[in-house]
Amino acid sequence: MTILINLIVSIMAASTPLLLAAIGELVVERVAVLNLGVEGMMLMGAIAGFATAHETGSLWLALIAAVAAGALLSVVFAVLTLTLQANQTATGLALTIFGRGFSALVGAGYVGIAAPTLPKIHIPVLSDIPVLGAVLFSYDPLVYLALATLVAVAWFLARTHRGLILRAIGDQHDAAHVLGYKVIRIRYLAVLFGGAMAGLAGAYMSLAYTPLWAQDMIAGRGWVALALVTFSAWRPFWLLIGAWLFGGIMYLSLYVQGLGVPVPSAFLSALPYLGTVVVLVLISRDRRRIRLHRPAMLGRAFQATG
């Protein structure tokens, strides 16, 4: 039973950074922008959060710094792609390359150092309930924030007028422009949101999940988050399922390694990436389903006329 509880708790933790980053990117893609720089923004968030936590001792400041770092990098992306009309794929890659380099540089001084970590919450009565308490009420705040953001985004997109505008831009940005909506401005806001969430996801990694800093510690999770968005067919509920799935695979590969099973550890470490490929293939095969939900303008450049 304890094993099951540990499994659930660990999968929730492993899925949280994926969920945080993916929610951000989902909003970005719903407004038909493709930001491949999630990995870079997560790295920036991770080091910004870690360094701030170490220097100031304040976790609040650390989280704010992480959000700011991710958002700042995403502004560069927005300026290049939305205002200067640069190629979105190349710019996203540039973000990742830069993010890796920058975080490695700043992080050089923080390898092997300890910093304050995010505590798990403890609600007086609820957390002490035998099984459910551990499974539902004992996570660190970012786990709950991820879930809350997911619900908020889902509601926003489906039920509010502003969410409708966002979906409309993703469907037909020229029509939205003709109707008078500020396509570029709304895209800027969406990209900023995506950057902020990615930064937060990175901070989760360095402050809660493996509370330390190591070069390249995001280890491809940013790319997995991108795959997650496609997997979910741009629908928030499926994002959660996917995050659990991918997070589960990532966790299990570590767990099995720890068991001392006679499988080469390299293979087990490669498992999450292999799994991502397999899932991507399974999802992409259903072209109809993808075309049904895919924001029609994804990847298309927008030129405001007049």
């Binding site: 469907d171 939205a176 003709v178 109707l179 075309r291 029609a296 006329t305």
Partner: protein, 522 residues
């Protein structure tokens, strides 16, 4: 509260390389249906975009209900009481009717009780729509109704309509006219952009004619004949349409479709259903139909971009070709001009020579051992430019630098000079100036005269009646039995075109004869 509803004084709008509006004056009175006439590129679209606040004029005044205004944005225009129904709808495919309409209403209070108001307004004006249906499921006529209802919900004083009947069956057009007349009576003026002269004469009380950015005339359409109006619009001696050739006799079948059936590749496409037709050498088959009924899919099936299941479904000069791609079909003598010039028929960022290579590399023998024969390719491109009077700096010019008409002449010429057995053209003169259109028509007629089989897919009924020997109609992916042009009346064709929409569409009204039919009987 008297005086004209809208007055434009001296509007100027300049784009890089093009003066779209050159000191344009326009006056729309109250309760008036006012036509804005002109060829493609005359500046009509730009002018109405200025009225609707999508663009700002560089110079000039807009006087609305007696007051000088600057229209900041479409939302502002709507607040003033201007509504616009675009030629190319600004609709969102993946969203519902209600959501689409909600997006056009900026004030939250306008959105209260929206669903019910949509039903009420749409039915009362004879344009019923279901608020919960997703747009991509709707026909073109139904989509236009959404656009109109969206405008009507805001109680406009001026409704601008940009080429509204280009996507309607004749019957749907009649319904629309009834609605427009009622709106004008009740206090909403209509600014009606069209190049369909008979409609304008039937519907509009006043007309402003534009040419190349300038206003060239104001008139009362009913007092002029279509011919006179056309003459004002293009101000060239209207050359009489080419002598109708005698109907060809006994050419061998060069293109045969046998029960061609193709499932739509996407949610928004049209499936082709058991299309069978034979086109003989020397014959021109015109395929009429409203956009979105399978024309694109048919073009792809003919060119080989989508493959038919069985080879015998498509026969080119008797050879089963259903399984062949465009490359092999060209080897058999098939030549194709698709509907979309930019990005499909031509690569806009490449030179004319390279674009010539695109389809001519096989039949024009422009390749040696895998290497492009630049000299020959350039020579071929030059021969096209010369024979078809393409205005350009040369074979090295980028396709993007040509006007629509010139590029289309080049693309048609590219195929015609390959001596095709079968030529399939979709929308031959869409977006093309009158001079180029004439040249293209003559080229098509000449090609048929030399024994090729020609298929024209077009939404322009005038063009079809002008060129075709037989006419068929494509509707919902089905092709009607071809009818010799002399036996085809507009009424019959119109009914066939409307075959999909409005089940229970009843008695046809007496149709107004079109200019083309006038010519045919002349």
């Amino acid at each position: 509260m008297n005086g004209p509803l809208l007055r434009l004084n001296g509007i100027v709008k300049q784009f890089p390389g093009c003066l779209a509006n050159d000191h344009v004056d326009l006056t729309v009175e109250r309760n008036q249906i006012h036509a804005l006439l002109g060829e493609n590129g005359a500046g009509k679209s730009t002018l109405v975009k200025i009225i609707y606040g999508v663009m700002r004029p560089d110079e000039g005044e807009i006087i609305w209900q007696g007051e000088n205004v600057t229209i900041q944005s479409p939302a502002h225009a709507r607040r003033l009481g201007v509504g616009m129904v675009f030629q190319h709808f600004s609709l969102f495919e993946a969203l519902t009717v209600a959501e689409n309409i909600a997006l056009g209403l900026n004030d939250a209070k306008d959105r209260v009780g929206l669903r019910d108001r949509i039903v009420k307004v749409s039915t009362s004006y004879g344009l019923p729509v279901d608020p919960d249906r997703t747009v991509h499921d709707l026909s073109v006529g139904e989509r236009q109704r959404i656009e109109i209802v969206r405008c009507l919900l805001q109680n406009p004083k001026l409704l601008i309509m940009d080429e509204p009947t280009s996507v309607l069956t004749p019957k749907e057009a009649e319904t629309l006219f009834t609605t427009l007349r009622r709106l004008a009576r009740e206090g909403c003026s209509i600014l009606y952009i069209s190049h369909k002269l008979d409609e304008v004469r039937a519907l509009c009380e006043a007309a402003t004619v534009m040419r190349l950015g300038r206003v060239v005339a104001h008139c009362t359409p009913a007092e002029k004949t279509s011919r006179e109006l056309a003459a004002i619009m293009i101000s060239a001696e209207l050359k009489p349409a080419s002598e109708r050739r005698p109907a060809p006799v006994g050419g061998k079948p060069r293109l045969v479709l046998d029960k061609l059936t193709m499932r739509a590749t996407s949610e928004f496409g049209t499936s082709l259903q058991s299309i069978s037709v034979t086109v003989r050498g020397g014959e021109i088959l015109g395929i009429a139909g409203i956009a979105g009924n399978g024309q694109g899919e048919l073009m792809d099936a003919l060119s080989g971009e989508t493959l038919a299941g069985k080879p015998e479904t498509v026969l080119l000069d008797g050879v089963p070709a259903g399984h062949m791609g465009p490359y092999e079909r060209r080897r058999l003598g098939g030549c194709f001009v698709p509907e979309e010039r930019n990005g499909h028929g031509a690569v806009t960022t490449m030179s004319l020579a390279e674009n010539a290579f695109l389809s001519a590399h096989l039949r024009g023998a422009l390749v040696k051992l895998g290497v492009i024969d630049h000299r020959k390719t350039t020579a071929y491109a030059n021969s096209i430019i010369h024979r078809f009077d393409v205005r350009t700096t040369g074979a090295k010019a980028m396709a993007k630098s040509l006007s629509g008409g010139n590029l289309q002449k080049f693309l048609v010429g590219r195929e015609v000079l390959l001596d095709p057995a079968v030529l399939v053209i979709s929308q031959p003169t869409w977006g093309v100036d009158a001079g180029a259109a004439l040249a293209i028509h003559e080229a098509i007629i000449a090609l048929a005269g030399e024994g090729a089989a020609v298929i024209i897919i077009s939404q322009d009924l005038d063009e079809i009646f002008l060129l075709a020997d037989r006419i068929a109609v494509i509707a919902a992916g089905r092709l009607s039995e071809p009818v010799p042009v002399r036996e085809a009346t507009l009424e019959r064709i119109g009914l066939l075109m409307g075959g999909v929409s409005a089940p229970g569409s009843d008695t046809a009204h007496a149709e107004t004869p079109t200019a083309a039919v006038e010519t045919a009987h002349a």
